[in-house]
Symmetry: C2
Subunit: 210 residues, 2 copies
């Protein structure tokens, strides 16, 4: 039968990731593709080739597993964001343009389903929910950052430009899920550029309020 017990037939034990990481990785994919509520813990451990006790040894609850998934997303987001900043050499206008064109690329990839943090906040309206807390903190930080960038661009109303960019970003996240292909989200970089151009132009401010 299996005479090669010392053979690497079971060699996965050395290279194979720990159950905790397999669960986290599998949960990430399932949560993002199907939504958090839609995925049960049984399905997670089954597809991770793990078991429920392993899940609950590493995470106190499904909600906390979801929060961990969102923290990972938050980290990955800021890595992309700062990578664009570095590539733009500190020019905030080039920075946001670069990031948004990268976002458009991601939107084009099959299976893209917007921002995991926004989606989670919509799935969990309860203010104290662990997942929502991560999402809300992320969005607050992002808003602050966009406002700083608008200020660095020399916008006359940095708060207004920052919020405009935040709206376009969230709009792109949502629209990318509402339209199958060629939706409005693919225009986000161009629209943002137009908005920035208009916000920096010394001419008409938001002077003509009705």
């Amino acid at each position: 039968m299996y005479a090669l017990k010392s053979q690497p037939s079971r060699r996965r034990a050395s290279t194979r990731p720990r159950a905790r990481d397999r669960i986290r990785e599998t949960a990430t994919q399932l949560f993002y593709r199907q939504g958090i509520r839609a995925v049960g813990v049984d399905e997670i451990v089954r597809r991770a080739h793990a078991t429920k006790p392993s899940l609950y040894r590493s995470f106190p609850s499904k909600d906390e597993l979801a929060a961990a998934y969102l923290r990972d997303w938050d980290n990955a987001f800021w890595l992309r964001f700062e990578a664009a900043a570095a590539a733009a050499g500190g020019d905030p206008r080039a920075h946001i343009g670069l990031f948004l064109r990268g976002l458009e690329q991601r939107i084009r990839t099959p299976g893209y389903r917007g921002c995991a943090l926004t989606n989670a906040a919509i799935e969990y309206p309860q203010p104290r929910h662990p997942a929502r807390r991560v999402a809300v903190a992320h969005k607050r930080k992002l808003r602050r950052r966009l406002m700083q960038m608008a200020k660095a661009m020399g916008a006359r109303q940095p708060q207004l430009l920052g919020d405009g960019l935040a709206l376009l970003l969230e709009g792109a996240f949502a629209s990318s899920q509402l339209f199958s292909a060629g939706g409005p989200a693919l225009a986000v970089a161009k629209v943002a550029e137009q908005l920035i151009e208009s916000a920096l132009r010394p001419g008409t401010a938001s002077r003509h309020r009705r």
Copy 2:
């Protein structure tokens, strides 16, 4: 059995709404406040002072009840949208401004949780789901409409302006749920006005695209 409070509920046969309508009304409130997946049919019928068979006599499934809820939302949306159009006397620029200022008012009201159709589409990524179908059809119609309005405004790139407005709208819907009060969503009318102004100005198009 249980000496419940069914006393004042029974005799009202003349004035009291039918079970189907009570269920629909209750489901609307619960679905919007908590999300569709978060609400069970038991809770719906309990708070509607009805029973599950009454629900399933009027709706083939919970999914179809959700779809009906979204169709109601779709109707209400277009009523508001066309009311703004009428109030603007056919001027598309005034129309969108009026609508967005009305949206900001709604966002300010406690319990506002964005667009039910967008939320449902995020809750149900599966393309064939009844709820998602309603949401996707609505968003497509809205995009077409915004593009027509951009054209009527005389935009040089109506598709681009229409998509920009669509992004701002979706961004306002999402942001209204991500920030407790005073979030970016309250700037949507101003930002849209700025974008329109810039899109109509004959000067710099999206000319300087690197």
